[in-house]
């Protein structure tokens, strides 16, 4: 038998049955959870990512950057990482929450006496009850946040920005950036139209078209120089600004033509596939096309166009022709800038070189000026004053480019959260209070489960209670991870909120005096006459005690009069994160055998 050198024998697959019993997989899962847990929250530590072959090092605590860089070897963790990435792709935030909750549920799942398949089923049912509670009117852990309540909106944005410590923002600068972001968002919301926009997945016909808030980042200036500019900023090379110093600044309005096709005058050799041509000797196709472009330029100038914007490349001869006659050319804008530009100017993008250009297809800008941010130079296009178009630019500045990249990610996540508010104007209490509240609700619901439900799930009441306390414990552990191992955690029995004691009580003072306000800030002082429950450091193991569940707790109340500034999480993001985490954990607990291809 001669062996051909190219063929390699494929290695057989590695088959592991009951992967959650495998020591190696469990060790990996534990490491994964510890790694991501240490990044969670405003007090999380940054992770320095580098690879051995060179390239930039990145310090981050965001899951959007961490997870694509980590390549977990085992298939269980790979599926978990894929689920987190899927959630991030949809919602933009909350990846660490998904990863932590799912790995806690997995880790605890194999230590229980309940068979894993049953655990998954019961967890799914408990999650359904949670979702129903969250969406009902009596839910005590959510707040209504619509566009009229500015302090609440600001709190939401501050919470998102605060959860990314790599941005290196102090309280004052965080407030400044949040205000600017909120201002830019409110600029994009149309002032008239249906009060609540739909146009989402249910396909109802009412749609609200938002404007554009373009993020521009510049390294160098301090964070205090972050600001919102109405209109658009287009990056230009330094030379052009000084040449076009004569372009009309403030008087009158400037006609704009926007092209989204290439004005480079490229002619494919021999024509396109469907329109082949041959040219006689002495006839230059390129010259003919250039002449066509120049005639287009003349037509535009005749219509009064002083600004030509093109998504793709413009032929240099056309550029020079237009600039000699007093017009300005902006090319290579890219598809992401053309849509905001059309919205700003009211122009409709032109795509044909030979077509007739009518004045209705052109747009107007109020004026242009040169703006310098850090080392970059921009041309600032201001839209007309009335009606003001919903296009603005948020200029983000930071001294440090790594911090600037994190800040940009954080601002995008905040924009996602604000846009989600338009569909569902609800927010949940942040800081871990919603998690402890839901944990208390789950324990309560498990005790009161009806017989039909037990029949349907084919399990006993003790099993349901065991799974419920495991799920509740996992949620509480996620809430406790926010303080990164410091402080003592308590949960009150009236509101179900999390309280953190940062110091030990002095001998002569009442121990409740160490508590100032709950973790989110909604309850400003410890309520009198409530019973407290301690959460251990490894919260999800120590807090299971049948004694608590024997006494039926009263339904939890909503905090009365929460102050205007408190920690808030986006409802849509958290709800999706919770569902994805529990579903992935149930799927993984159900796995009987993993087969890994080791080639």
């Amino acid at each position: 038998m001669s062996s051909s050198p190219r063929r390699e024998r494929k290695l057989p697959s590695r088959c592991v049955s009951d992967p959650l019993e495998d020591e190696r997989e469990r060790g990996e899962a534990r490491l994964f959870r510890t790694l991501l847990g240490s990044c969670y929250g405003p007090q999380g530590g940054l992770k320095l990512l580098r690879n051995a072959v060179g390239g930039p090092t990145v310090a981050t605590s965001t899951s959007a950057v961490l997870l694509p860089a980590l390549h977990p070897p085992g298939p269980v963790l790979r599926l978990l990482a894929a689920a987190v990435r899927g959630h991030l792709g949809r919602r933009g935030d909350g990846g660490l929450f998904v990863a932590l909750l799912a790995s806690l549920l997995l880790e605890g799942g194999w230590g229980m006496e309940v068979p894993p398949g049953l655990t998954g089923r019961v967890q799914g049912r408990l999650l359904q009850l949670c979702e129903r509670y969250l969406r009902s009117e009596e839910c005590a852990c959510r707040l209504r946040v619509d566009l009229g309540s500015l302090p609440r909106l600001l709190s939401l944005v501050l919470t998102v920005l605060g959860s990314k410590p790599a941005c290196l923002l102090s309280r004052r600068t965080a407030r400044h950036v949040s205000t600017a972001l909120l201002r830019s968002f409110l600029h994009t919301v149309p002032s008239s139209g249906p009060a609540r926009g739909d146009g989402g997945d249910d396909g109802r016909p009412t749609t609200v078209t938002l404007g554009h808030a373009v993020l521009v980042s510049a390294v160098g200036p301090p964070v205090e120089e972050t600001r919102v500019l109405p209109g658009l900023l287009v990056e230009t090379p330094e030379v052009a600004v000084s040449v076009a110093g004569g372009s009309p600044g403030a008087e009158g309005s400037i006609r704009v033509a926007v092209f989204n096709t290439s004005l480079s005058g490229d002619v494919a050799e021999g024509g396109e596939r469907e329109l082949r041509h041959e040219v006689a000797v002495g006839v230059s196709a390129h010259g003919a096309t250039l002449a066509q472009l120049l005639s287009l330029g003349e037509r535009l100038l005749a219509l009064g166009v002083r600004l030509l914007a093109c998504q793709k490349v413009v032929h240099p001869a056309l550029c020079q022709f237009m600039e000699e006659r007093g017009a300005r050319v902006l090319d290579r804008l890219g598809a992401s800038l053309v849509e905001p530009l059309c919205r700003l100017t009211g122009a409709r993008p032109l795509g044909s070189l030979a077509g007739v250009v009518t004045p209705a297809q052109l747009g107007l800008v109020q004026g242009t000026d040169g703006v310098r941010v850090g080392e970059k130079r921009f041309l600032h296009l201001r839209g007309m004053d009335a009606p003001a178009p919903p296009v603005c630019t948020l200029v983000l500045c930071h001294r440090n480019d790594a911090a600037l990249a994190e800040l940009k990610l954080a601002c995008q996540a905040a924009q996602h959260a604000l846009q989600a508010l338009l569909k569902e104007p609800l927010a949940l209490f942040g800081g871990g209070c919603t998690e402890t509240h839901l944990a208390a609700y789950i324990r309560h619901a498990a005790m009161g489960m009806s017989e039909e439900l037990l029949q349907e799930l084919r399990c006993s009441r003790a099993q349901v209670r065991s799974v419920a306390s495991h799920l509740a414990g996992a949620l509480e552990a996620v809430a406790c991870t926010l303080s990164q191992g410091r402080g003592t955690h308590l949960v009150d029995s009236r509101f179900g909120h999390l309280w953190v004691a940062w110091r030990v009580a002095l001998p002569d003072e009442d121990w409740e005096a160490v508590l100032q306000s709950c973790a989110c800030g909604a309850v400003v002082s410890p309520p009198p006459g409530v019973s407290w429950r301690w959460l251990g450091q490894r919260g999800h193991r120590d807090s299971t005690s049948l004694g608590d569940e024997a006494t039926a707790p009263t339904p939890l109340l909503a905090p009365p009069d929460p102050p205007p500034s408190l920690l808030l999480d986006s409802f849509t993001v958290r709800s999706n994160a919770l569902q994805v985490a529990v579903e992935v954990a149930s799927l993984l607990l159900d796995v009987k055998c993993t087969i890994e291809d080791t080639n």
Binding site: R273, E274, L350, G351, V580
Partner: protein
């Protein structure tokens, strides 16, 4: 633990066979062919059964595959799991091919297939002692190879009886004796049809998916099959139509929980609008035109035409003429009231420009199958003939055409048609899981198709009545296997007329014994605390006393399964067994194999 050359662990085969399998699967320098007997077949079937058999039953687990490309696939469906395995042994590949062929027809039953095959080989190999001795000439085995030879010969003896078993025995038992245990659904009554469909779909999905996913998908599948609520006429045709066009009728979205899955009226196209509909949503009677090529005056490719320009002005005028052509095309469409243009390819910027300014919505790069499907379901008519050109076009009308956001920056086109038609959107946390859900729905639909058709009679002797009438179900959980076991035992003991020949009765006994493996494994997976033997004895006592099967004993969760699919399973397993046992030598070849029947090249990984 890295296993040696053997790709799968073989826990329950005898050591001799395992050694032989290891030797044959390892590097075989110098041996071109190796003999394969029943022992090898049993080892292979046993290994496969052990891999997928632990996931038999509703919500009993899944398999996680990690590919070398980095994809991770989660599978509870036996056929997908078997198809994903990389197998070395040629017999294993043969078994998997038979399983996949079976699942392509019935949509389910891969795990039951390999379990039944393994247990049949086992009980056929052991054989009743007297029959084996009689077949081998009456000498007790003394030499070391005699055991394997006896095993192989008793298996082959059983295989020889299979045709007679199928025609003379099985059809009779199922068609006559088991008829009274079956529940027949009335396929003409709307409510009955819908309830039975729900039962079958629920059982099929819960065996192939987790409980949460099954519960979320059952209403969506019912909505797909019954677009108007309770549609009775042409149920079977409707299910076949959905199966034939399933890739176009199902959209998978990742990153969201499965509870968001639902059914929408109309057709969903995977592409988004390149030019969005202007103004309000395009509603009412929406005329559309579908084109398959770029809109150009003449196509140089098809006509073989090349333009020749002598002067610059000729060139410029030609460009102008091409531009004007597109403009007139769009104007003609607008005059005819066409609001949407679907294109199978990318159109020129010129067309998009005129479309944008003329109020025509454009969807580009629609896959050809989706375009064909859309033109099929929307009523199409003769195209407007204002501009003659060489691009193939069809025109039709829709009830609405709007943009649908799927989340995560993804959007698609949602088009309504006059026909009662729905599309399924499946949500899942990860893409691999979403394709599993879609595959499970396909399996459930195939089961429905099988259920709605009667099984015709095989033998010419009987009258033309069907063996299994359309719409027959039995409780899921092993009821079919148990009943067949009971009646086969009666035939084997000679309690029924007409009395059959002893070899055929031995074969009935072997099959009867092997059939119980499926309910045994099922109940072991579901309720490890309950003893299967007590269940079995209680059920058989009830059957003998009252002539009826107590449904609660063997059923799980109240599910039902169609009898036609189970009968097909037994038939296919017997055929596969015959094929396996006919093989006696495996020949290693170098170079690629050409499969004349299928017309494509098979891959030979055995040569080293």
């Amino acid at each position: 633990m890295e296993s040696p050359a053997v790709p799968l662990t073989l826990p329950d085969c005898r050591r001799r066979s395992r050694r032989r399998l290891c030797r044959s699967a390892g590097a075989a320098h110098g041996s071109v062919s190796e003999p394969l007997g029943a022992g090898a077949a049993l080892a292979v079937a046993g290994a496969l059964a052990d891999t997928v058999g632990r996931c038999l039953g509703p919500a009993c687990g899944s398999l996680l595959f990690a590919r070398d490309t980095g994809d991770v696939l989660l599978m509870a469906d036996g056929s997908r799991a078997l198809a994903a395995l990389r197998l070395e042994h040629p017999m294993a590949r043969m078994v998997v091919d038979c399983t996949l062929a079976h699942c392509a027809v019935t949509g389910d039953g891969a795990k039951s297939f390999v379990l039944l095959l393994a247990s049949l080989l086992r009980s056929a190999g052991l054989g009743p002692g007297a029959a084996a001795t009689a077949l081998c000439g009456g000498h007790p085995p003394t030499s070391p190879g005699a055991h394997e030879r006896r095993e192989t010969s008793s298996c082959r003896a059983f295989a020889g009886q299979v045709p007679a078993l199928q025609t003379d025995v099985l059809d009779g038992i199922v068609g006559e004796r088991m008829r009274r245990h079956m529940t027949l659904a009335n396929l003409e009554s709307g409510r009955d049809l819908r309830d039975s469909t729900e039962g079958i779909v629920r059982t099929s999905l819960s065996c192939n998916l987790g409980a949460a996913a099954a519960e979320a998908l059952v209403p969506a599948v019912l909505g797909l099959v019954f677009p108007r609520g309770t549609d009775v006429p042409r149920f079977g045709e409707r299910v076949s139509f959905i199966l034939g066009n399933f890739p176009e009728m199902c959209t998978e979205v990742s990153g969201a929980p499965v509870s968001r899955s639902r059914c929408l009226d109309g057709v969903l196209l995977r592409r988004d609008f390149t030019v969005r509909p202007s103004g309000e949503d395009v509603d009412g009677d929406v005329r559309f035109v579908a084109v398959t090529g770029r809109v150009r005056p003449l196509s140089s490719e098809s006509l073989g035409v090349t333009w020749q320009y002598g002067t610059v002005s000729e060139f410029q005028q030609a460009q102008l003429w091409a531009d004007r052509y597109v403009e007139r095309f769009v104007e003609a469409l607008a005059r005819d009231g066409v609001r949407v243009l679907f294109s199978a390819v990318k159109q020129s910027d010129c067309l998009l420009h005129y479309a944008r300014h003329g109020g025509l919505a454009v969807v580009e790069c629609v896959p050809a199958e989706e375009l064909a499907f859309l033109c099929d379901v929307a009523p199409c008519e003769a195209p407007p003939t204002e501009c003659g050109d060489t691009v193939a076009r069809l025109a039709g009308s829709l009830t609405f055409c709007r943009r649908l956001e799927l989340g995560g920056g993804r959007a698609c086109v949602h088009a309504g048609v006059r026909r009662a038609l729905r599309s399924l959107v499946v949500y899942a946390p990860v893409q691999g899981v979403a394709s599993q859900y879609a595959a499970a729905v396909t399996g459930a639909l195939k089961t429905l198709r099988m259920w709605a058709r009667p099984v015709p009679c095989r033998a010419d002797l009987r009258d033309g009545s069907a063996v299994v009438p359309a719409g027959a179900v039995l409780p899921a959980g092993g009821a079919f296997e148990f009943l067949l076991h009971h009646y086969l035992c009666e035939v084997a003991d000679g309690k029924r007329e007409p009395l059959l020949a002893p070899p055929l009765r031995q074969a009935c006994a072997v099959l009867a014994e092997a059939l119980l493996e499926i309910p045994r494994r099922l109940h072991r997976n579901l309720r490890p605390d309950r003893r299967f033997l007590t269940l079995l004895s209680a059920a058989s006592a009830g059957l003998r006393a009252r002539g009826e099967l107590d449904g609660h004993l063997l059923s799980i969760g109240g599910g039902v399964e169609p009898v036609a699919a189970k009968l097909q399973l037994v038939g296919d397993v017997l055929q596969c067994l015959q094929r396996l046992l006919r093989v006696d030598v495996a020949v290693r070849v170098t170079g690629r194999l050409v499969d004349g029947a299928r017309g494509h090249h098979g891959d030979s990984e055995d040569d080293s």
